[in-house]
Every structure is written in C-alpha cells, then in structure tokens.
Symmetry: C4
Subunit: 203 residues, 4 copies
C-alpha cells in the first residue's frame, strides 16, 4: 500500500477540522466594534490557537509521511486514532470558549491535546517498528525532545488548572500559557526530519 491515499484522506479530514471551527464563530448580534470584541474577541484567539495546533499536526504529519514508503493496517488505524483525537478539537474548543475558560473545559481541552500527542506518538512508534532497525524516521526523530516535552507541558497545564486554583483564575491562566507555549515550540518546523529527508534524497 502506498501512502498517497492515506495522505489525501488525512489532508481532507484535517482541512475540514481546521475550517469547521470557524463555523462555531457566530457573528455578534450588535454592529459595533465593541460587540465584536466582547462576544467574539476571545473566540477569535481561541480559534487561532486551535487553528495553529491543527496546522502543526498537519505540518508534522506531512514531514513524517515523507519518510514512509509503505502503509500497513496498523499504521492506517493509528492514523485514524490521531484523526479522531483531532476531530474532537472543534468540540472542546467550543466548550472552552463558550464557558469563558471555566475550570473543567480548560482541563478537557488539555486532555484532548494530550490525547492527540499520545496518538501521534503511537503512530510514530508503529511506523518506526514497521520500518525496522534502519528506520529513516527513527533517525530523523532522534531523541525527540519536543515530542517528550509536549506531554509534560500538557500535564503541567492540566494539573495547574486542577490543583492550583479549583475555581479558575490563576490555574487556568497557567494552563493556557502551557498550551500556547507548546504551540510556539512546534511552530518552528521540524528541521531534523528536513535534514534526514534531504540526505536520503541526495543519495
């Protein structure tokens, strides 16, 4: 099995996820700038965060499958598990936004991000195991510092929202800061995979 159709299907699902979130943004009832800022201002930033996250996953997915030649059943299902986690993002984003960043919805948003990170890690591991000892993806990923830091940040965010301040407030702010920090960390595209991919092409 080639990867082209798996990539096309994943692209389709990610394109829809990234776009339907904007359907959650309801136009404000009033017609003034203040209406826009009060009712949608936060929504736009939340949408931007989730947009960036889906963009990061698409980006990394793109880089990862650049190093994959053949697809197995296990890879197909690990990929679908990742898409399932990401498909819940519009739901958890909407809940977090509608609740004005209440305690529990922020925790659930973090759990959703954590779930997607785990699914991505499983997908990566399934591919590496299938490629065997000479796996180009294993080489490219290397020590995978970003991939190991992300769940720690998510867990820190989830626990700070849960523990520091059970009624929202500071805990929620720390949690959101963690989620934004991971996004910024990943926005820099994965140069390691780029480098290995270039070496393989040069041979």
């Amino acid at each position: 099995m080639r990867t082209s159709r798996l990539e096309a299907f994943s692209d389709g699902v990610l394109a829809i996820i990234i776009t339907i979130m904007v359907l959650e943004l309801k136009p404000p009832a009033g017609h003034e700038l203040s209406d826009l800022i009060h009712t949608s201002g936060v929504g736009l930033l939340t949408y931007l965060l989730s947009f960036v996250y889906v963009g990061i996953y698409w980006n990394n997915h793109h880089h990862m499958f650049h190093l994959v030649q053949r697809v197995t059943g296990a890879i197909l299902w690990a990929n679908l598990a990742l898409l399932f986690c990401l498909s819940l993002l519009p739901f958890t984003t909407a809940w977090m936004d509608e609740s004005d960043f209440a305690h529990t919805p922020v925790v659930i948003y973090g759990v959703n991000l954590l779930g997607a990170a785990i699914a991505y890690f499983v997908l990566q591991s399934v591919i590496i195991r299938h490629q065997g000892s000479q796996s180009p993806l294993r080489k490219a990923v290397g020590r995978d510092i970003k991939g190991k830091l992300s769940p720690i940040f998510y867990l820190a965010g989830i626990f700070s929202a849960l523990l520091i301040d059970p009624h929202g407030g500071l805990g929620v702010v720390i949690a959101l800061a963690c989620f934004v920090a991971v996004a910024i960390m990943w926005i820099v595209p994965d140069r390691r995979i780029d480098r290995v991919a270039r070496q393989i092409e040069d041979r």
Copy 2:
C-alpha cells in the same frame, strides 16, 4: 477511466462524513465534568462507533480499489450509492443519540448499516463481474466470510430491537452489541486483500 479521481472524490466525501458528525456534538450548557458526561458522554461513544464504521469503510474501499485498474459507469454509480448510504450515517447517528437509544432510531441505525453493507457488496460484485474470470478482487475476497457475517449481525440486531423488547431495554442493548461486534470484527484490516495485492506486485 483511471481510479484516481474516483478515489479522490470518495476520500473527500468520507472525510467530510467522518468530520461533520462531530458538529452534532453540542458543547454542554454547564461547565462541570458531570455536565459533559450527562449530556455528551453517550454522544461521544456513539460518535466513536460511527467514526470507526466510516474508518472501516474507507479502509476497505482503499484496499478494494487497490485491485481495480479501470472504472466503468456502473462502478461509478455503485460507488455513489455506497457514499449515499454512508452520508446518512450522521443523520441516523444523531437521531439515535438524541433519542437516548430509543427503539425505532436504533432499528433505523441498523437499517442504515445494513444498507451500506449491501451497497458495498453490490459495488464489489460489479467490480468482480467487470474484471472477468481472472478478477484479482474475486481472489482476494475469497469466501468473504466477514462480508457475509456482517448483514447477519445487522439483521440480528434489527430484529432483536424489534422483537425481544418492543419498548427498548434489552433488545436495544443486544442490537448495539451486534453493531459493535461487527465493527470490532472489521477493525482487523483485510489481510486477504493485502496478501493478494502483495503477490500481484511481486510478479
């Protein structure tokens, strides 16, 4: 006619079906974990079941068209009939979920799954007939035990919901168990087609 554009169109439709179901998941009004579980907890599991079903159909569609070289008008329309059946899944899933698994909506959900299975079988038969006596798809499908078991399970589910307990309850539970069982049976990717495909490529 090559298969590439039919595959791309089917991928697009399946990607949309699998993703718009999440639009049915409305964020709970409250902001507590209990709100999430009471109003969306069941919804998430229902969504997961339908997500897995669309994933299975995409998976099998992917494997099947791997063995198809040319597309005829009959194959195009049989494929559209399958997509039509699957496009009703978000509707029947939403009705089943909103009714809290009432009697009739569970039966209709089963009828929808049965319709999709029949459409898939028709598509498979049209392709095999077009490929003639040396059909690689016929070889790959073999005795098609899974394909023959699925409608039996769907019918068992439909009838148990209809007959055992006309007011819901046990009959509905048995029906849902049947639908989940078929999904689990198919989650294992179709190794027979994989095997024949590999043999053909090896020649």
Copy 3:
C-alpha cells in the same frame, strides 16, 4: 496548466456540496417511525434527488476533463461558475423541502438546475473553442442530445409550476416529474465520451 489541480478542487467542492445537504436533515423530535416519515420522509427523497444531480455533474465533469489536456483562465472561471451554481443547490433544496414543495421554491429549484445546465454548457463550449477544430470533446459530445433536452425539460418544469396551477398542486407535480426525468436520463453514463476516450487511448 495541467487539469489535475482543477479536478482536485472541483472534486473537493462537489464532495462538500453532496455531503452538507445531509446536514439540512434534522433528526425528528419524536422517536417513532411515523415521526421519521412525516418530518423527514419527504426530506430524504428530496436529498436523494439533489444527491443524484450532484453525482451526475461530478460524473460528467469527470468524463469531460478526461478529454482536456490544458486549462486556460477562461476554463478556470467557467468551472467556478458551474461550481457556484451547484453550491446553491443545498440552499434551494432546503427551501423547497421546508416549504413542502410550495409553488415558488419549486420554480427556484428549477431555475437553479437550469443555471447549472447553462454553466455546464458554457464550460463545455469554452473547452471546445480552446481545443480548436480537432477538439476530442466536440467529437465525444457529438450532437449532444441529452445536453439540449435537459434545459427544455427544466423550462417545461418551471413553466408548468408557474402557469398550469399557480397555487401548487398539479403544476408542481409535473415540474418535479420533469426534474426527476432529467436525472434518470443522465444516470446512464455518457457512453459517447467513453467511446471516444477509449479510441484516443488506443491510438
């Protein structure tokens, strides 16, 4: 310019149009079969009709671009005009269905189908003019009997809904019969184009 990206974009838009119509189907409030038939029964048939129409356009678009090698700016915009007309189908379908097939919405649905047919004819003419005197598409289309009959049927439907019975009833039934008749006429795939395409490939 190759046709691949125009085909991919058109496939995407058509896949979305064909799928979002199902979002218009709201699950019935009640949980009995009679609720389904009373509130959604007609809706399902209307959805089926529009699904078949989008399927026909995708099918013919697929066949047509099989004979196109290069895309010009005029072809790109004629194609977008066709996609625009088709993108209004979910809107006119929903209005026709919600009004229980009232007089004006049925006329507007017919105008929408007529507009799509004209846009398709313009696209076909632009391609033929660009291909010049040896146009394979002109050969394949031949006398284009179906393409000429369709607008006549649409106009007959529109006028029968307008004239015979201004308050709905018989006029609307004749109009719907015209629209269904055109769909049935086109469901048979365009064997003429198939034949020419095969001849070209055989050379």
Copy 4:
C-alpha cells in the same frame, strides 16, 4: 518537500471555505419570491462576492505554486497564515450581511480582505526570497501592479466607510464599490505568470 501535498491541503481548505458560506444562507420563512428577495436577495450577492474572492485566491495560488518546486517550513507557515485569513471570510461575510451592511461590519470585512492580501504578499515574498536571484516567480510577478493596487483599494474602502459617513450610507457604498472593483480587476487571470510558465515549460 514537494508542493503536491501543500497544494492538496490548500485546495481542501479553500473548497470548504467556498462551500460552507452557502450554509449561512438560511431558506426564507415565507414561500414567495418576495420573501426570497427580501431575506436572501442581498445575501446571495454577498455570497457571490466572497465566492469570487476565494475563487480569485485559489486561482492565483494555483498559478503561483506552478512556479514553485520545493516547499520550506517558512512557506508552509506563510501559506497557513493565508488560509487562516481566508477562513475568517465566512464569519465576516455573515456579519456584514446580517447587519444589512452596517458601518463597522463593512470595515471589518475590508480589514479581512486586507489581511488576506498582506498574507498573500508575504507568502509570495517568502517564496521569491527562497528561490534566490533567478526566481521564476519574481520574473512572473514583475512589477506586481495588481498586487500593489489591491491594498490601496482596500484601504480606500475601509477609510471611506470610516470617515466619509460614520453612520453608513454613502461611505459604505463607496467601500463596497472598492471591494467589488478589486474582485473585477483580479478576475482576469494572471497572464504574466501564465506567460513565464509557458516559457519555462518550452525550454
């Protein structure tokens, strides 16, 4: 990194943006032609304007990436920024339409168009810088008169809506005229890029 998957993902997102706007068009409550014109007549023209804008961006994106061979991380993110701006169009279009072209929503619509134009310019500049001194895109774009005129028109529209008439009316009409003028200016496909592309292919 090849451009194929970036193009496919962008096509998917643009196809969804162009199609979900039609979901904003709610069928009128009444069943007369006057209901359609009063409640949706303006909406259809607004939808047409935004449809044409997305079509223009798809068209220019298509032409631009025809001259791109390799994709870098910076190009991926500049492309995502463009898609983000365009993904807000259904939201700003809906607000402008629902407010019956009130003052502020028209300004915000103009800001959205301006943002997309800036993102497109950034994407173009990133590609040209990456291609180096022999950049075929730089040659094709030339003095980029259209690209420089567009933001001036957007700014003229935004300021006329802001300054001339703070309570709507003439200022809004001038603003809309500016936005329509830019669309008409771009509808003519970019012959300069076509010309250079042809020269490159001819070599």
